[in-house]
Symmetry: C2
Subunit: 95 residues, 2 copies
DNA sequence: CCGTTGATGATCAAGAACGACCTGGCCAAC
DNA sequence: GTTGGCCAGGTCGTTCTTGATCATCAACGG
């Protein structure tokens, strides 16, 4: 699924124009991104939650150069699917 | 940030009615959820990607009962912020 | 709609962090 | 205001994380 799919969905479901649909999708995603960058958490019931957490990981590794790479801090975005979402994930299996 | 915040945003930015804004937000999120449940991956450039992966974890642990808990498989949803997103996360620090 | 641009994914390793379950508290949703 | 979903905590095992490169495909222009 790509951004275009979501836009198409709004075209059909909400009867939006293509431009409006695309803009709406981008607006929402952009807003969510900004909120996360501001350190805010996003919590949508029935869907899931995004949380920004300080990065605790210490070292990664560069195979090519065979050296450890200090992870100079920062933050990570963690997504957790909601209860219903998780339940459905368990029930359905991948083939 | 909660679902209501996103709806308010659409009211202001896109001049949607409250009901339409709320419905739009839910429609998008619901669709994304369904896509993930269908095993589809979502890839939005500039934002991030959601991928569904089979769960390989074998055991969890119940501290209270001091026993191991078999994690009977299922799938997990993994979110990865996009390049730009990640870069900004690094640059900004938490207070 | 097709082609182009360039971001995204996989990979390899090693090490640290997260995840599951359960209960209580807090807050999102109605 | 009420309901009930969501987060935290603890232990052990699994997964993630980092970086660089090539191929693939999302996004966009003609």
């Amino acid at each position: 699924m790509i951004k275009n799919d979501l836009a198409n969905l709004l075209e059909r479901k909400a009867n939006f124009s293509r431009a409006k649909a695309a803009l709406t999708v981008e607006t929402i995603l952009e807003t969510m991104k900004k909120a996360l960058l501001a350190g805010e958490k996003i919590e949508i019931r029935g869907f899931g939650s995004f949380r920004v957490m300080p990065k605790k990981t210490g070292f990664g590794r560069d195979i090519r150069r065979n050296r450890q790479i200090p992870i100079s801090g920062g933050r990570r975005v963690k997504f957790r699917p909601g209860q219903d979402f998780k339940k459905q994930l368990k029930q359905q299996s991948i083939e």
